[in-house]
Amino acid sequence: MMAFLRFWKDFLIGDDLTLAVGVVAGIAAVAILHAAGAPAWWALPVAVAATMALSLRRAIRRPKG
């Protein structure tokens, strides 16, 4: 059971919570822009790129395994 729960934690959060937070923020930004009638497609790629850059920066400052 613990292994199953650990699987879902690894699956959804992994090594860095930043990725999940960035993705949720990016999707929210798309929804808000769409609701406001503005072009929204660019928000998710920008959020993904920024989140990955931040996550990598944190990883190389605290190298693990």
Binding site: A3, F7, F11, L12, G14, D15, D16, L19, A20, V23, V24, G26, I27, A28, V30, A31, L33, H34, A35, P39, A40, W41, A43, L44, P45, V48, A49, T51, M52, A53, S55, L56, A59, I60, P63, K64, G65
Partner: protein, 247 residues
């Protein structure tokens, strides 16, 4: 591109997970014999079948837009995790996955473990280790099959893709009777991570209301951008690593 990309992404993702499960199955099989190993594999596959059969129809009842937001979002997080690991490994900040080392460590643990039967299974240790490996590695494949199938409306393609990936690895593994250490796992993870990220971004964005320039063709330019960005990041990390080491 949509269906071919879907087939490729699922096949390669399934192959990578199958390599990891196969290493453990082979280590236990050759060390402790196959009498309890095969039941462990079959029980694991049965659990995966039940999970897939239960989750698939449940997802099919959710309307497409919210389904794509949820499934695309989770796929995107999952793809980014694979990509992040592949970039860090490529940049020298994370050790490469070593199937030979995993195999040796499993063989060593399996050789020293006590042999005891339980619930009619002749070797409980072998059964549980193999069962866990098949279920935990297989759950990721099952999730990818279900999400890709539900979001694209082509469950059949996703199942065929996964079957191709798993069967290719299992056939290769049993042909050489050794862990598939020569499979360029990090390169495959890099490619699959880029594909999962691309499909996740496309579906999650579409579900949240984005209208992608070029419609479905956006998958192509999103994939090109993702792969180029990841390659640039890996090259940048390699340069930083070299500078750190030579300093």
């Amino acid at each position: 591109m949509g269906l071919a990309g879907l087939l490729l992404a699922v096949a390669f993702a399934a192959a990578v997970e199958a390599v990891e499960a196969l290493t453990i199955v082979l280590a236990i099989g050759v060390t402790r014999g196959w009498r309890a190993t095969w039941p462990g594999v079959i029980a694991g596959l049965a659990v995966l079948g039940v999970v897939t059969a239960a989750l698939g129809p449940a997802l099919a009842r959710i309307p497409l837009a919210p389904l794509r937001v949820i499934v695309g979002g989770v796929l995107l997080i999952f793809g980014l995790q694979w990509l992040r690991k592949a970039i860090l490994r490529s940049g020298g900040y994370k050790a490469l996955h070593d199937e030979d080392a995993t195999f040796a460590s499993e063989v060593s643990a399996a050789s020293s473990a006590q042999r005891a039967g339980r619930f009619g299974v002749p070797d409980w240790y072998a059964f549980t280790i193999v069962f866990k490996a098949v279920v935990l590695e297989g759950l990721e494949v099952a999730f990818i099959v279900i999400t890709f199938g539900a979001s694209s409306g082509h469950v059949g393609y996703a199942v065929v893709g996964a079957a191709i990936g798993v069967l290719a690895v299992v056939a290769a593994g049993f042909a050489v009777r050794a862990p598939l250490s020569r499979v360029p796992e990090n390169a495959i993870k890099f490619g699959v991570g880029a594909m999962l990220t691309t499909f996740g971004m496309f579906w999650a964005g579409e579900g949240a209301g984005a209208e992608w320039p070029g419609g479905e063709l956006a998958i192509l330019w999103l994939l090109a951008l993702t792969a180029a960005g990841a390659a640039l990041a890996a090259a940048g990390l390699r340069r930083i690593r070299v500078a750190e080491v030579t300093r």
